[in-house]
Amino acid sequence: MSVLRAAVAGLLVLLAVNLQIGFFSHLTIDGVVPDVALLVVVGAALVRGPEYGAALGFAAGLALDLAPPADHTAGRWALALVITGYVAGLVRNDADRSAVVSVLTVAASAFTATSVFALSGLALGDPGVTTELVIDVLPIAVLYDVALTPLVLPAVAWVMHRVAPMSHRWAYP
């Protein structure tokens, strides 16, 4: 069962990463694609908690780091999504389940992940990361992710509940 669970989670991440770099790269807003992988991580973290969120975030981040056409230092998205997945998972018990909480969590997560990624670039001296560019990209990324939340999060929650029925279920919006 746990193998199946891991396989389903892996497939979900794989699908998300491929959609993000293959499909949504044709639907960019000013070059910004929606972080589908991040949405899957946040969705899973909201259902399964911080540890699961961190683990799935690491896997999704590493896939983003290694999948073409990525040319940045490997591990940067992994770092960003581990932190994001963990923090998003903490929201699970602290709040009532509501669409508003989910949307706010996604917005905060998108902000965190993009910022951590940009900061790691600044620390490594990546010439592509400039403050102006980060300021341009951040709000678009957050809004685009929020816009896709109603499509992605319920689907992720449904899959998570299907593969691992939890004792304390809640109705997802």
Binding site: D30, D35, A70, D71, L79
Partner: protein, 297 residues
């Protein structure tokens, strides 16, 4: 790994697994950044072989949607017009764009065939199937040709307008191209009129505002506005062939403080609408030489 018990009373201390994963991620960054022969490279190859074909497939499914994206970016300008007109406009635009794609590609292919025949270059045609997101702050694209088509590291990539970039990764059926406009990209350039040499650096902006800055080696040289810039070329044509058109000088900025002048070059290639590109896999003289060697052996 189970550092705390799941269920009713969740402990407030930070559990082991996330901390461990953060450390692993930092380790991966350090190793990949510090080592020339990074262990991440073979991994990238494996992931590229798996993801590349999927990307190509998804991309051909999404290609007709390009027009939809363009529609969204032009919405602010259309706000005054009524909703019906906008919808009709988008529909027509989508039809026009998809109808035009094949004709555009054919025309591009014809131009390139003529150019490369004259220059004695061997090229393979490729489509852009993936674009690196702006969130990654690097300007790279995936193309649908790879090592099976003869594409290897550092090959020059061009299209009918001029220089596009160079291959930074080649997997089995896909390759990653670092665009000329990336802030990390530096290309040797030559001013068309004076034959003076310099270095072209990108500003990382994919839109129409994307510009290259040319710093000439001889600081006394001043580029003229409108002057064409071509590539200077590298040894054995890798990473860049010589004489490929890059752009034209748009303005010249001089700083009296350090006596250097920087020419701002507008690239010929429109990086926001890259579709069909060509990878130079060899040149005719080179091929003749290899054939001769083969004949002797």
């Amino acid at each position: 790994m189970k550092s705390h018990t799941r269920g009713g009373a969740r402990s407030r201390k930070v559990p082991l697994l996330p901390v461990l994963l953060v450390l692993v991620a930092l380790g991966v960054i350090t190793v990949d950044a510090a080592m020339d022969d990074s262990p991440a490279e073979p991994l990238r190859g494996v992931v590229g072989d798996v993801f590349g074909p999927v990307q190509s497939g998804l991309s051909s499914a999404a290609r007709p949607l390009n027009a939809v994206g363009e529609f969204f970016t032009t919405v602010p300008g259309l706000r005054d017009e009524n909703a019906a007109l906008r919808a009709a406009n988008a529909q027509l635009k989508a039809q026009l764009d998809t109808a035009g794609i094949d004709a555009d590609r054919l025309a591009g292919l014809e131009i390139m065939r003529a150019v490369t025949r004259d220059a004695g270059l061997d090229v393979v045609a490729a489509s852009v199937v993936g674009v690196g997101p702006a969130q990654s702050f690097s300007r790279t694209v995936t193309i649908d040709v790879g090592t099976v088509d003869g594409v290897t590291l550092d090959m020059t990539v061009l299209n009918a307008d001029g220089l596009v970039g160079r291959v930074v990764r080649a997997d089995r059926s896909t390759a990653s191209v670092l665009l000329l406009i990336d802030a990390d990209s530096v290309v040797g350039g030559r001013l068309g009129s004076s034959m003076e040499l310099g270095f072209l650096a990108g500003n990382g902006d994919l839109s129409d505002q994307g510009r290259l800055s040319l710093t000439t080696i001889d600081s006394s040289v001043t580029a003229a506005v409108g002057d064409a810039v071509v590539t200077w070329g590298s040894r054995n044509g890798a990473p860049y062939l010589s004489g490929v058109p890059v752009g034209s000088v748009e303005s010249v900025q001089s700083s009296p403080r350090d006596t250097s002048t920087v020419a701002i070059v507008a690239p010929f290639v429109d990086f926001s609408s890259l579709d069909q590109v060509f990878v130079v896999v060899g040149s005719a003289p080179e091929r003749a030489a290899t054939q001769a060697e083969g004949g002797l052996g």
